[in-house]
Symmetry: C2
């Protein structure tokens, strides 16, 4: 079921705001096809921005890290976070440098994290694993309790979200650069997988995991 | 000429610090092969994280935006920034969820921006264009003065930088999950270009730009 994302002064985009999208399905699709988020927070008055893997649990985002990470402890104490996920979909070549740009889909989520409690941690980690490596959760051995104890899982609601999408040809005008000599258009970009490489302790007789083959196929 | 990146309590990585790298060539290589950075700053006490294109001018980073962007005006007033550039190079499949991870190269640059003055703006924009679209600067029409006036270019020194690189097989131990049934290894990921798509005003007789063909070839 789809719904509109909330609109507020804190989420409204002021610059190139024709690119803002309020469709929750667009947000979910953008998040579900991404692996990395960049999480920003304030430490001693200054910004920190870290790349993290994440998962989506309905209308919230899940991230995880080590209980031994000072940055993760910062993020877990309820301070405001900005979590940005960006897909670079293409380079947009205009006949001028000024009109050249990029095609992208980006979401910035603002909010505070709550710590996922122990009773829900296994389920939350399952969601993160399945997000990053679809199909993998049922292939690996179960978590050990010391591993769970060493892992902090944070939940951030997908409430204050700005989604910005640019997916078009360059802005162009007749008589602004010569189209007979200066080509304009888009070079699309995407992420692909290479050949899976097998670890040292895995015998050559062990088949590449079904989850890995499926993702490699999807990203071929 | 290579040199070591400075080491300080502000740049030293505390978590998984065997992944920290102090080689400036590694930083430059990581930056020069990336298109997007995520810039974090503090606004009204809260973090904001935005994706931006960038360029590298020796030992500084250049970013550009519209003089009409409130966020860019924030970034230009000398407040501290954190600029993070991340390559996701692969998914690391261990036999446990806990030891599963990612291969990546990431740099976080901390510092304050200075505004590039008008005398240097054309050169700075040239560097950014050539970074994002190598070979393109000589193909497009020259900047118009009103375009230059509408563009803010910021310079951030590459002084306080933390570089973290993970490029390996999963951690694994004998007797931790059965390697005869659970495959472990790495699925490499990379960015590739698709077929260039030509804009509406470009005649079909105009050849795809040399810069675009070269980048498509490089990312094939």
């Amino acid at each position: 079921m789809s719904s509109d994302l909330p609109d507020s002064p804190r989420t409204r985009i002021t610059r190139l705001n024709d690119r803002q999208v309020f469709d929750r399905d667009a947000l979910n699709s953008l998040l579900d096809s991404a692996v990395l988020a960049h999480v920003g927070f304030v430490r001693d008055g200054e910004p920190i921005v870290l790349p993290v893997g994440f998962g989506r649990d309905g209308d919230s985002l899940l991230i995880h890290g080590s209980t031994g990470s000072p940055f993760f402890r910062d993020m877990s104490d309820g301070r405001p976070l900005a979590i940005t996920v960006t897909h670079l979909d293409g380079l947009v070549y205009a006949r001028s440098g000024f009109d050249s740009s990029m095609n992208y889909r980006s979401a910035m989520i603002r909010g505070c994290a709550s710590i996922v409690d122990n009773a829900d941690k296994v389920d939350a980690l399952h969601i993160i694993t399945e997000h990053l490596m679809p199909g993998r959760a049922s292939e690996v051995r179960p978590h050990k309790s010391k591993e769970l104890a060493a892992t902090l899982v944070l939940r951030v609601p997908l409430t204050e979200v700005s989604v910005k999408i640019n997916n078009k040809m360059p802005d162009e005008e007749v008589n602004d650069g010569d189209p007979r000599t200066i080509w304009a258009g888009v070079l699309p970009l995407r992420t692909v997988a290479g050949e899976p490489a097998t670890s040292e302790l895995t015998p050559s007789s062990t088949p590449v995991a079904a989850s890995v083959r499926a993702l490699a196929q999807k990203l071929s």
